[in-house]
């Protein structure tokens, strides 16, 4: 049985309802669907920002996400996974990333969504810079907390 997997990198926004309906389709073995939507906030590190610019490594970004989706499929009994990551200029309030996981039961769907987000934050080749009201641009620093969150999956016994 093949599990439906969708991975897309795009400039344009995505629609949560469309993607959720596409993921579940008519599969009545799905009892739980978890979504995570990451949005551009109006502040970074205490500074008001006008926009984020997201740069990525085409080819590798898709491959890296696909590897982690495969990893998630071996760890949890999933019925479907969707990952959409935007790049380019994104203003506060707009969406950046969508992770959708479907399973028979909720624990697998929650765990897989958290796992994928922790890895996207630390391993997928994306880089954010912000545009501040002053006109300054600033590359966002990686957060230790994100590395710690990703590291917990390395030792997790499943």
């Amino acid at each position: 049985m093949t599990v439906p997997v969708t991975i897309r990198l795009q400039r344009d926004d995505f629609d949560l309802a469309t993607e959720s309906a596409r993921l579940t389709g008519t599969d009545t073995s799905i009892g739980a669907v978890v979504s995570f939507v990451g949005r551009c906030r109006g502040d970074e590190d205490g500074h008001a920002i006008c926009a984020l610019n997201l740069e990525h490594y085409p080819g590798m970004a898709e491959a890296e996400i696909a590897r982690h989706v495969e990893e998630a499929l071996t760890r949890w009994p999933l019925k479907g996974v969707t990952v959409i990551h935007r790049y380019g200029r994104i203003v506060p309030g707009d969406n950046i990333v969508l992770v959708l996981t479907a399973s028979s039961h909720r624990q697998a769907a929650f765990a897989a969504a958290e796992f994928l987000m922790d890895y996207l934050k630390t391993r997928a080749p994306f880089w954010k810079s912000d545009e501040r009201a002053s006109g300054d641009r600033n590359w966002i620093d990686a957060r230790d907390a994100d590395d710690d969150a990703a590291a917990r999956w390395d030792s997790a016994a499943h």
């Binding site: 990451g38 997201l54 740069e55 990525h56 490594y57 080819g59 590798m60 970004a61 491959a63 890296e64 990551h85 950046i96 990333v97 987000m117 996207l120 934050k121 630390t122 391993r123 997928a124 080749p125 994306f126 880089w127 954010k128 810079s129 590359w139 966002i140 620093d141 990686a142 994100d146």
Partner: protein, 83 residues
Amino acid sequence: MKVLYFAWVRERIGKAEETIEPPAAVRTVGELIAWLASRGEEYARAFERPQVIRAAIDQTHVRADTAIAGAREIALFPPMTGG
């Protein structure tokens, strides 16, 4: 050998990619970064903290002690901040 640069590594060097031919003594990713840092002021600035630079060979993450022999495409970049 094609080298790609991303984010502030790209900005400091002033280009997104180039083709290089490092000397035979440059065997690992770490040695490649050190050799690149010696190529001029912009490279020196891009690689002034080599310990934070991440690398991928042919689109797979690698460590600084990985051999570069046979690589078609090496990417050098700061820690990732996606998601």
